[in-house]
């Protein structure tokens, strides 16, 4: 436990001091990985713990992003950057979740997809959200007297927030509530039969995941300085889904590793060759066939064999 805590602490510290040793672009990549990592972790709470495969998680990412963009343009403060996006995303997750948890399996997948696509269509078409161009020129907030427009400050802010989000999710999956979720994933019917109001737990999980996704979306807006309707598009959900699966479902750090693998593969390979889709596709296929359980599964397998 202590070793693990030290390990995590070392990782956070390494992420924090990364700009001191790396160039601007690697830092950007790291920041992007961190933001997507939060998003992927929030999806993993549904996917890997509650067994709910959502294909519409982009709805909350987009809502967080848009609310942050609108609010930061009004007043660049922490309230706009973090509290409002999280609240609105939570509310949206409550409503969408209320309808979606009535069905399961492929129907759940498609219903969540439908909701996120409706948001996409709306954001794409209405002028007050900037239509397909989205909202650009979003200022970064001021927080506790710190100006996040400063690169170093923003990096630290991001690292701290991502670590906080990870900590929160880590506590949640280990809490009694998290154990209930795992029970639901394992055997929903039996959980119901022993007396759990399964729907309520699922809805709560959906809302928590949606809220964290909203924070991720807000961080994304702050990171890029703009938000476009693509944030809502199903491919955003799809990519997060791939990240979680590649990393290994049901392990939060797997989601972050998956985000790292996905973003590094996509950005670096596409700088080297036009055939990056082929390479990405082959990677997925080989992964499924030879590394079930994702990156974490593969790592664990190796460690296990050595031990």
């Amino acid at each position: 436990m202590i070793v693990r805590l030290l390990g995590v602490g070392a990782l956070v510290a390494a992420a924090a001091v990364f700009p001191a040793v790396a160039g601007a672009y690697p830092v950007k990549l790291l920041q992007e990985i961190l933001v997507w990592g939060v998003f992927a972790m929030s999806l993993d709470l549904l996917l890997g713990y509650a067994g709910m495969v959502s294909f519409g998680h982009s709805a909350f990412f987009g809502i967080g992003g848009y609310v942050a963009a609108l609010a930061l343009k009004q007043s660049p403060h922490a309230l706009s950057a973090l509290v409002l996006p999280a609240l609105v995303a939570a509310l949206a997750a409550l409503v969408i979740g209320f309808f979606s948890i009535r069905v399961s399996g492929v129907y759940f997948i498609m219903l969540t997809l439908a909701f996120s696509q409706m948001f996409y269509a709306y954001a794409f078409q209405v002028a007050w959200l900037g239509a397909e161009d989205g909202i650009i020129g979003v200022p970064r907030p001021r927080l506790l007297g710190l100006d996040l427009a400063n690169r170093t400050v923003f990096h630290l802010y991001l690292v701290v927030l991502v670590a906080l989000a990870a900590l929160v999710l880590w506590r949640v999956v280990r809490s009694p509530f998290g154990h209930v979720l795992r029970g639901i994933q394992e055997n929903e019917g039996r959980m119901e039969a022993v007396g759990y109001a399964v729907q309520r737990y699922k809805l709560l999980a959906f809302v928590i995941a949606g809220t964290v996704a909203g924070v991720a979306g807000s961080l994304y807006t702050q990171f890029v300085g703009s938000i476009t309707p693509d944030a809502f598009f199903w491919t955003t959900s799809g990519e997060a889904l791939l990240m979680v699966i590649i990393g290994g479902t049901g392990t939060l750090w797997g989601a972050v590793l998956g985000a790292a693998a996905f973003i590094l593969l996509q950005s670096l390979v596409s700088s080297y060759t036009e055939r990056w889709m082929l390479i990405l596709g082959l990677t997925f296929i080989l992964f499924v066939l030879f590394a079930p359980g994702g990156i974490v599964g593969a790592l664990r397998g190796r460690v296990g064999r050595r031990a």
Binding site: E186, N187, A193, G195, Y196
Partner: protein, 251 residues
């Protein structure tokens, strides 16, 4: 045996599947502390009866009262929370979780603490203690950390009952707890069931007549969705209609 205030009262329970009736006007009265066996040939509607009681199915007509209050149409979790727990004919566990966790989840189903988002399960002693106690009473104390899916079949059946028991039910429904067990395993299961506290009212579907005779106070025979006979084991055994159903069906 007092019939004054039955723990479970079923009146005219009927369930159709399309045009077929799986259960047809069944009425039952189970007294507190009673141990009742439900027997009958395959397709007699025994499991359907359980499913109706626990809310897994909605009745077409009829009423169910538990502890004096109507429970007809309640969802399964609400029924369970009122004190009715069940085991399943097909083993229905959390195969990737440890045995202790299987029992603890059931024991914690009273909801206290299960919405705690940031605490740890160690903080809630009662479910853990209950899980250990149940593990002991179903004879599995030695294998608390074993993953449920890796237990032997007999152990899984014991755990199946254990999970049902861990919720501290007033009424325990057991759906063929000895199904597929070897004679020794069946014996062990029977002893275990006999040892259950009398406060737990028992409704058990069972094919093994030795189990029924040693366990049940009274027996209800279902046939084609209707109550064919009811009485003590000996009374039922002596009933020519029951003889007809079993032997006639077999012959």
């Amino acid at each position: 045996m007092t019939l004054a205030s039955p723990v479970l009262l079923i009146e005219g329970l009927t369930r159709y599947f399309g045009a077929l009736s799986a259960l047809n006007g069944v009425s039952l009265m189970i007294a507190p502390r009673e141990r009742r066996a439900i027997i009958g040939p395959n397709g007699a509607g025994k499991t359907t009866l359980f499913n109706l009681i626990t809310g897994h199915l909605a009745p077409s007509t009829g009423r169910i009262r538990f502890d004096g209050a109507p429970i007809t149409g309640l969802p399964p979790h609400a029924v369970a929370r009122r004190g009715i727990s069940r085991s399943f004919q097909r083993t229905n566990l959390f195969p990737k979780l440890s045995m202790l966790e299987n029992l603890r989840l059931a024991a914690a189903a009273d909801g206290r603490g299960s919405y705690d988002l940031f605490g740890s399960i160690e903080r809630y002693r009662a479910p853990l203690d209950r899980a250990r106690a149940v593990a002991e009473s179903v004879g599995l104390l030695g294998r608390l950390e074993e993953v449920a899916g890796r237990l032997s079949y007999g152990e899984q059946r014991q755990l199946e009952v254990g999970v049902a028991l861990a919720t501290s039910p007033k009424l325990l429904l057991l759906d063929e707890p000895t199904a597929g067990m070897s004679p020794e395993e069946t014996q062990r299961m029977t002893r275990m069931l006999e040892g259950l506290p009398r406060e737990v009212t028992l409704l058990i579907i069972e094919h093994d007549m030795d189990v029924v005779s040693s366990l049940a106070d009274r027996v209800t025979v279902l046939h084609y969705g209707e109550v064919l006979a009811e009485g003590t084991f000996d009374e039922v055994k002596a009933d020519p209609r029951v003889y007809e159903v079993y032997l006639g069906g077999a012959g």
